[in-house]
Amino acid sequence: MSARERDWDGVRLHVVTGKGGTGKTTLAASLALALASGGRRVLLVEVEGRQGVAQLFDCPPLPYEERRVAVAPRGGEVHALAVDPEAALLEYLEMFYGLRRAGEVLTRFGVIDFATTIAPGVRDVLLTGKATEAVRRRVRRDRARRDAPGTDAPAPFVYDAVVMDAPPTGRIAQFLNVNAEVAGLARSGPIRNHADRVMEVIRSAETVVHFATLLEEMPAQECLDGIAEVAGAGLNVGGVLVNMVRPPLLDPDTLARAALGETDTAALVQGVKAAGLEHPEEIARGLADELVGHALRVRLESDVRDRLASAGRPRYELPLLTDGVDLAGLYRLAETLRDQGAA
């Protein structure tokens, strides 16, 4: 592996949040691809039951099972898992209590329904629990010995990194702070112990929370509020992923004047005529209006960029994919993330 500087070396759980509409699922998927490139193995975990990951990678809906969804550039694999809280609960009961067959009775009494849809924190601890379990999971001993005989070092991790497509910014601190969430409900007992184990991973230096945003006021405000809240909860803030950035089409001077409503309409008329278009005056007037609108938006975007910079976190800018988000677009975003040192 190259010795180039990457911002998140040592981080094994990347939580990606963002306001609705900022493209957090797309960015989580791109980050997973970026982290996997160069021969690594990354798990992308979806927790909101939307099957957005399957749509992005153009594959059938994901079952509750880890499967490979993409091959990364220069080797490497992205696996994906859509966590279903009910299945996770039954799996958990089986793993810790050998209670698989109790599922039917529990379902009949509404216990499963209660635990996975209503009880505060239980659903969240099941979802985060699944992700942290994947972070800690190691290759089985016998297999590790076979691959590297004669070593006594701990077996390698199954996944080099886990990326979680997490709930939106408004709920992220509560979602990750499962300990506080279940505290009111279960002050002792196995659920509490499980929550403590999950928290250990989430609070460690191995976990960071990245924020997806746009160059618009409200998403940016929510991003900054979210950063403060996550930091306040004692969790590690990762980077700010600025999505759907449009390339500049005009030089700064022209933009500054256009923002004041000054456009050289005569020059536009000349140009439109030279291009051989009909009704040059009318077209030039329309183009001038569009220039002014564009300049105002660019000015607003630049204000937003300054405010985002005030958070003092690494920022990555991802281009707007004008043809919509498809598989090729994901690879392009992944490459951009790598170029900027995010992976």
Partner: protein, 385 residues
Amino acid sequence: MNPTGPPRLDIDVLLDDPATRIIVCCGSGGVGKTTTAAALALRAAERGRHAVVITVDPARRLAQALGLSELDNTPRPVPLRDPGSREDGGSLHAMMLDMKRTFDEVVEAHADPGRAEQILANPFYQSLSSGFSGTQEYMAMEKLGQLRESGEWDLIVVDTPPSRSALDFLDAPKRLGRFLDGRLIRFLSAPAKGGGRALRLLGAGFGMVTGIVGKVVGTQLLTDVQRFVSAFDAVFGGFQERAERTYRLLQAPGTAFVVVAIPEGDALREASYFVERLRGDRMPLAGLVLNRVHSTGVPQLSSVRSLAAAEALDEHGEHPLAAAALRLHAESARVRDAESRLRARFTSVHPEVALAEVPAQPEDVNDLDGLRVIGRALADGADRP
């Protein structure tokens, strides 16, 4: 503009009709639901209604847009410094839902002081009122019912909670009600009621379930739940019925649902799903508000021709400003075309759904004037002569 297209959603007719008593704004996250709700309430107030807008959004964005530093659980008057305000003018109040406070108030209103105190101090009640998924939706609907009953406002505009699913506010209250009235909670509380008979009625599997629940969550929780239910039962009973009542209020003739979306694939897919669900539940749908619609300054010049013209100018290295403007236009024409395609996909599936469009604003809304602009745009979306 589009004579064969979908019917236009005439916002002013909706707002001016005294029979319209409740407007519910729903849709997926990030589509401008809160702003739409505030703009509708403001416009209604300035057209003479006594309107109140309830928001449940924790980001406090409505507060910013309404020029208030903070909202709390009681409706606060919003000063309308409209210079032309009439004598018979309307009024606007705004509030942000505090779910715990609302729940506490329900308890305080229904229980005698001693019992209320006992309930409020119960740890299980405290999780229930501040953390249970569904409580926010339940309490939003509870608050809606309260405001409707108070008769102080003739129009209530509701912004729905930012849920896991946009439909949660329809489902969650019933789910929570079902749980509170349900088998599980009766069963968890059975020992406190000395109910050997109740236990027998629950039948087989009882011992197994107590065993598992006790083992997994600890016995402390069981005790809390038992105490909570016995205190609560005496006061209320019928959570499900309460939820049913607000659900029926939503189906009543004075209610209008406004589905909010933006011209993007996911948002319109969600809107489509929502329209179908509302129809299935016989909820009165007023129409679709499509926010952030882009238009161009030169509608007759297509994206392809504009780009070709820009390239022609580039070849000669002349007229750089015009070339850049043409590229910019090519991009905005492309966006407009893509949005038209998405809208057409929606309207061909739902030709009967009335539509109002709000153009993308150059800057975000952060004051009443900004909301007025949105309100006017909503009304103009009706394209009246």
